[in-house]
Symmetry: C2
Subunit: 207 residues, 2 copies
């Protein structure tokens, strides 16, 4: 049995509660590590280097790109955002499952580079609930609502690319289900190639 | 979320403890049903119709074949063995996950007919343990050992066709893992097509 951790990508509708969910997962189980992104944008008040983000210069970030030191990266509105590979690999080697919160484009980049990554899509339990969260409490501008709606429609098109959907209804149930789904993923043949090959080899040697 | 049960096919090395494992699974959780095969062979002393097997005549069995009333079937040494479809579908509709213990040929028949079936392969935790079980306690004839060995080699070649491997080490841990793997499978996109389509449709109607 393989004791190396697996990469878990978490995407999902805006307002599906991904942040709360992952915080709860990490506080309930000790076999997870949350990946911290690197960015070239300036820290906002209250943000700490190494907690919300690794804040780096443009030169440092481009060096990471040149060295293939990022699992995935993107450029939004003039700033780089990316997932440093070293941190991910260190945690995987320690047997931790590493959680990456990334939107679909990044998720697909990761699946291409790491076919054994597990892709999870978080959704509210019902369309009504999703609507409620998209439309907000009546305090949002039409532009904001329209932006969320467009994003949700786009996000909804990509669900089939994910390995599992996580229905965020009751938080506690949802955290348990998410944990079970990730742990179950450890038991697929493609994540246990060494174990299977070793069994086959030794079977073929039996006289 | 889809509340229909899923078909779970359990195969694995001879001596991997499939029987004990499934008995424990069914006694620990109430969301499973064990499929009972139909056969044309005669009942052995102690076997009851509807418990170990449904004992039917050759004519009855061939009527089931003609009516497409079997999920899979095979003919061994002049006797038919097969899985009646009616029982499986009744239990699936009740929301039960239906467990079928079948060897690889039958498992692949099922995957072809029911692409959403979950295929599990049970294996002992180590090659040494597998050897021990294959070679037996020194009371087996060489022919018996040779037969087991050939079968295990063949079984070992098919592991990649399965969705998950189940490592039967400690029975209680193994039962829990098996349950988690089956429950996690309920949350794949292909098993929640209605839910996903409904979300997409209603998102597209939002103004």
């Amino acid at each position: 049995m393989n004791n190396k951790g697996i990469i878990v990508v978490v995407s999902g509708f805006s307002g599906a509660g991904k942040g709360t969910l992952m915080k709860a997962l990490l506080s309930k189980y000790d076999n997870y590590a949350l990946s911290i992104s690197a960015t070239t944008r300036n820290p906002r008040p209250g943000e700490t280097h190494g907690k919300e983000y690794f804040f780096v210069t443009k030169e440092e970030f481009e060096k990471l790109i040149a060295e293939d030191g990022l699992v995935e990266y993107a450029n939004y509105v003039g700033n780089y955002y990316g997932t440093p590979k070293a941190f991910v690999e260190e945690k995987l080697d320690q047997g931790k499952d590493v959680i990456l919160e990334i939107e679909i484009q990044g998720a697909l980049q990761i699946k291409k580079k790491f076919p054994k990554a597990l892709l999870l899509f978080v959704t509210p339990p019902s369309v009504d609930e999703l609507k409620k969260r998209l439309i907000g409490r009546g305090t949002e501008t039409e532009d904001v609502i329209h932006g969320r709606l467009l994003r949700a429609k786009e996000e909804g098109q990509g669900i089939d690319e994910y390995d599992n959907i996580i229905i965020n209804d009751d938080l506690d149930t949802c955290v348990t289900t998410m944990h079970e789904i990730i742990q179950a993923a450890h038991y697929t043949p493609d994540r246990n190639v060494e174990f299977i090959n070793s069994i086959r080899e030794q079977l073929s040697e039996l006289k």
